[in-house]
């Protein structure tokens, strides 16, 4: 199609070449992890002979993580089978990393058959951008970047008074979706994150303006997902809708999934603002009177540097984080996101506008 060729010329993207350089550290889908996972499954499923001889109700039961994984892989495959141009929102944050890991499992031994899309606020943590690029290279993916900075430079977006750029991601996101003709976009949203997200469907229709209409959603029945849409509409797909923060961390631990280092305890220069520890950086400077100190911290969510706070933590590895999250008395967004504190309906309002 000629229109498609035209649009591909317009793509805002960085195509990364697959290099021969190996990523160091813990690989996301190492044989060890696969073996361990299979052993865990073996412990619930009995070999053929035994199961056939003594059928019992508890032989074939998946644990929570296996059940959630099976559901997510089913959803990812459904979307790939039913849509022409899917893409996966990849920020380098833990939820999108888990989602991408699930995609590699869904299509093994083939390549993940869609590009990843990142909306770069220009305020991202440099180590997260670095992690993003290494992951894309390791998996041989195409990366499409939508840049908030470019929209600001062109005068199409205005910097907010509070300096937060998370709410500014919507326009570049919708622009990238339109220019690339993506008809389905995978998001790592989870229903336990927020009251508005709790009402989100697994396949969620967006109108031609990218808007979500929470009062007029399609019923979602059994595991029969209806992705039909008309020209101009697109669908957001949330394969990890039913995972909780703790499920995500347990899965990261079980599968040995690599994450950006800032999810684990490290020393960092921070200052106190709005009851959160903010990192000191080029785009995140303390105001007069805000004292800069060095603290042992980690991040529970990784968003824009200008609105994501760190929590004090000595959880230096994934096992320690699992323990910490299980014992936490604050939600991850409540603890670390200034943008969700704007109003009780902050997330709902942003989602209606096309945010993810």
């Amino acid at each position: 199609m000629s229109t498609q060729t035209f649009s591909e010329e317009l793509e805002v993207e960085n195509v990364t070449q697959t290099g021969d350089q190996l990523v160091e550290g813990l690989s996301a889908d190492s044989p060890e992890a696969a073996h361990r996972a299979s052993e865990e499954r073996a412990s619930v499923s009995k070999p053929r002979g035994e199961a056939a001889e003594s059928p019992s109700a508890n032989d074939n039961r998946l644990g929570t993580l296996d059940a959630l994984e099976a559901e997510a892989i089913h959803i990812i495959r459904e979307v790939v089978a039913e849509f022409e141009r899917p893409a996966l929102l990849f920020s380098g944050g833990k939820d999108s990393v888990v989602m991408l890991h699930l995609a590699t499992k869904a299509f093994w031994p083939g390549k993940v058959p869609f590009p990843v899309l990142h909306v770069d606020t220009g305020h991202n943590f440099p180590e997260v951008i670095d992690f993003r690029d290494r992951t894309v290279e390791r998996l041989g993916l195409k990366l499409v970047v939508g840049s908030v900075q470019e929209f600001i430079d062109r005068g199409e977006l205005q910097e907010r008074a509070d300096g937060t750029r998370n709410p500014l991601q919507t326009v570049p996101l919708l622009d990238a979706i339109q220019k690339n003709k993506f008809d389905a976009v995978f998001g790592g949203g989870r229903r336990d994150e927020d009251k508005a997200r709790a009402k989100e469907r697994i396949l969620s229709l967006r109108d031609e303006f990218g808007q979500w209409d929470p009062r007029n959603q399609r019923p979602e029945l059994w595991n029969l997902y209806n992705g039909r849409h008309t020209v101009g509409q697109h669908v957001r797909a949330f394969p990890i809708s039913n995972w909780t923060e703790l499920d995500i961390w347990r899965y990261i631990e079980r599968e040995n999934i690599e994450l950006p280092g800032l999810y684990y305890a490290h020393e960092r220069e921070v200052f106190r603002r709005d009851g959160m520890w903010r990192a000191v950086g080029e785009v995140s400077l303390p105001n007069p009177g805000e004292e800069v100190i060095t603290k042992l911290v980690r991040y529970r969510t990784v968003g824009d540097m200008s609105c994501t706070g760190a929590v004090e933590s000595d959880a230096a590895d994934v096992a320690a984080v699992v323990v910490e999250v299980a014992a936490s008395t604050l939600t991850e967004r409540g603890a670390t996101r200034a943008d969700d504190r704007i109003s009780e309906a902050a997330m709902e309002d942003r989602k209606k506008d096309g945010y993810f």
Partner: protein
């Protein structure tokens, strides 16, 4: 938050109730008392409760605020859409579909019940079994929800009276019997529990205020009921709707190759990806491939792959990829099934539908039917009846409106391996989709084929 064990299993349940029966409060209570609500969320609820003067001078938490997520819901004090909630105990991780009772109750209840292992139906102890309770039970029966738990709420407002509870319990038993809930072959059961959601009686802990009630509290019931898969696995034959073929043809995952995947060995790799819908499959099993327009083709399972691991056996609801002995043309929408367990495919679909659209159904409507991973064109030939939810009788009709449940005969553009929903909750379900805007019009459940079509009048 509970530190549930990683080995805990998943249990999905839904709540259904009528207006003002305290459903949001019960859900809030379950989340609160099982410590699934974190401090900042609770602070926000406390602030809003105080702002609105909840509980008068006594104060207190309006636990309904925990679940009413949309601005309009909080403003109007009602629940509009199905909301999903998560909490865990040491035994289970729960997914709760909280279904509002007043607007579009059929749509919401059908949605929540379609995936549920159990549904909790709320009744106000002061009002007893209402018309809407009968409707809820009727819908749950149609959807073949394995367990129905009736929570008789607000027992504090009837002075914890045993006789009031027993009368309601007897009513529920009578209605359930009328409906056929709890009778073979479906294994649904009905449990009735007296609760006070406001104060937490019999929700998480046994209430000392109702010594006459000897049963377990609600949470304990939810922790111990067998999930649908546990009930179904035993007697169901293997069914596997094919989602897609995995054929990398050289486009192998670079990370797998970098870690030593044998490129030559995988050059001609071909496997069929899907989620086991029912039953179990083992390497070496004889299977049939059912494709529209083909005779069933028999072959053997030579491998079950999952992300680099070879499995000996796979069972519902695992997502895997199957390798087969013979090179057969297999596409998305085909079904792989245990040999010798499938009936003939058919293009005549007899079913019950819950009509979920404001666009009414008329005979002759052209629609899409989605069944498993297959979507086909279809024509609704007849609308043969509409279920009267009050009398449970089927009334003659030629059309269905929003929230109606009716019986239809649909002519499909291709023959599909249809199986009765009463016995196959996963492979007996279908969607009716509007070809114009792609919206889901109805939830469908395949009925037994009545043999030779008695009615060819509507042949188009």
């Amino acid at each position: 938050m509970s530190t549930a064990l990683a080995s805990a299993t998943l249990f999905r349940f839904a709540t259904a109730g009528s207006v003002d029966d305290g459903k949001s409060t019960l859900v809030g209570r379950l989340l609160h008392d099982s410590k699934a609500i974190l401090a900042d969320t609770l602070d926000a609820v406390a602030r809003t409760s105080a702002d609105r003067g909840f509980g008068g001078e006594k104060g207190g938490l309006d636990l309904a605020l925990l679940t009413d997520g949309l601005r309009a819901e909080r403003e109007q004090g009602i629940t509009i859409d199905v909301a999903y909630r998560y909490f865990a105990t040491d035994r289970r991780s729960f997914i709760l579909a909280d279904c509002p009772g007043h607007v579009q109750y059929t749509k919401n209840t059908v949605t929540g019940a379609s995936t549920a292992d159990a549904v909790v139906v709320l009744i106000d102890a002061r009002k007893g079994v209402l018309e809407q309770t009968r409707r809820h039970l009727s819908v749950l029966h149609l959807l073949r929800v394995p367990h129905v738990v009736v929570a008789v709420n607000k027992v504090d407002l009837v002075d914890f009276s045993e006789s009031v509870f027993r009368d309601i319990e007897a009513d529920i038993r009578r209605v359930s019997k009328e409906l056929g809930i709890g009778t073979a072959p479906d294994h649904a059961d009905v449990l009735v529990i007296p609760v006070s959601a406001l104060d937490g009686d019999n929700v998480v802990d046994r209430s000392p205020r109702m010594p006459w009630y000897q049963g377990p509290p609600l949470l304990e019931v939810l922790e111990t009921l067998p999930a649908a898969d546990e009930l179904e696995d035993e007697h169901e034959a293997f069914r596997f709707p094919v989602q897609l073929a995995v054929r990398p043809q050289g486009a192998l995952a670079p990370d797998a190759v970098a870690r030593g995947l044998d490129v030559e060995a995988y050059r001609d790799y071909r496997a069929y990806a899907g989620q086991v819908a029912e039953g179990t499959v083992t390497v070496g099993d004889s299977v049939v491939v059912l494709s529209p327009g083909h005779e069933p083709r028999t072959t053997t399972v030579t491998g079950i792959d999952f992300a680099g691991t070879s499995l000996q056996t796979a069972f519902a609801p695992q997502s895997v990829a199957l390798r087969l002995a013979d090179e057969i043309d297999i596409a998305r929408g085909d079904t792989i099934a245990a040999a010798g367990t499938v009936g003939e495919s058919s293009a005549d679909l007899y079913g019950s539908v819950a009509w979920l659209s404001s666009k009414p159904l008329r005979e002759g409507a052209r629609v899409f039917v989605k069944h498993g991973t297959q979507t086909v064109k279809a024509i609704v030939r007849t609308v043969s009846g509409k279920l009267d939810l009050d009398s449970f009788e089927v009334q003659p009709t030629t059309g269905l409106e929003l929230n109606d449940i009716g019986e239809v005969q649909i002519r499909l553009a291709a023959e599909l391996p249809l199986e009765p929903y009463a016995k196959h909750r996963r492979t007996g379900a279908f969607l009716v989709i509007d070809p114009a805007d792609g919206n889901t019009l109805a939830a469908g459940m395949v009925k037994e084929h009545p043999g030779d079509s008695e009615d060819e009048r509507y042949w188009i």
